[in-house]
Amino acid sequence: MAAVPTGHVLIVAALLVCIGAFGVLLRRNLLFMLLSLEVLLNGAALAFIGAGSRWQQPDGQAFVLLIMVMAAAEVAVGLALFLQIHRRVSSLDADALDSLRG
């Protein structure tokens, strides 16, 4: 597997993480923030897979499995929060949620 240098894998992973972080920070629609979070997590997963392939160990893949579990739980809770916010505020704008009082 020396055909793909690990550095190039890490560059692609870093690009994906940057795109995801860009989306989380700049988009104000909650659904897009969740989508960007998925892109970000996939960038991290790609870095783990690249490292696991570099050292020929299954640890990287096992960790990506845990990342997927975390992403599934995060999406479930995030979408439930999203529905609740939509029901209460009738808006999907994260900036509409500027008060902490109940």
Binding site: M1, V4, L31, L34, G50, P58, Q61, M68
Partner: protein, 190 residues
Amino acid sequence: MSAVFYVASAIAVVAAFLAVTRSNALHAVLWLLVALFAIAVDFLVLGAPFLAALEVIVYAGAIVVVILFVMMMVAGPTASRGQERRWLPPRAWILPSLLAAGLAAVTMIWLAGAGGPAAAGTVIGARQVGMLLFSDWLVAVELASVLLLAGLVGALYLSSRSEGPARTNGRRPQPRRPWPDADGRGGASD
């Protein structure tokens, strides 16, 4: 083999960028789907066929479908045929389809050729990952299952039609009934 990686990575980065910057959520999900497929091909090239399959099944299958499901719930029940057609004009789905078809073509050529993943010799399959997960990483697997249970309970609780306990405005908090009444109103109304 590395050419497949670079093509798939380019498609992944472009599709991810477009997914993040679209204004229409449905188009963004289409682009996210293309990006996830491209990342799955990246996993395959890097010798992780098990994780590539899981990426397609869990991410592109389950998670994207759940996001679409919630999006359709929020969009309301007024989705007539004309509105659906307005949501998805041909220019919205032709470009993602072309990119996905290109990705599939590159992958098929790679898999059908002599230098497929079996020839790479460094594939780490599901067997090794499973052996590691259920020996050294057993505690992590248990923690992951607890996390999934917590996600399930949290999603169930949050998506019930109840007002939060903070909405009582100084009154004594009512005993909460998170399930809707028979007439559809939420429990613990205030």
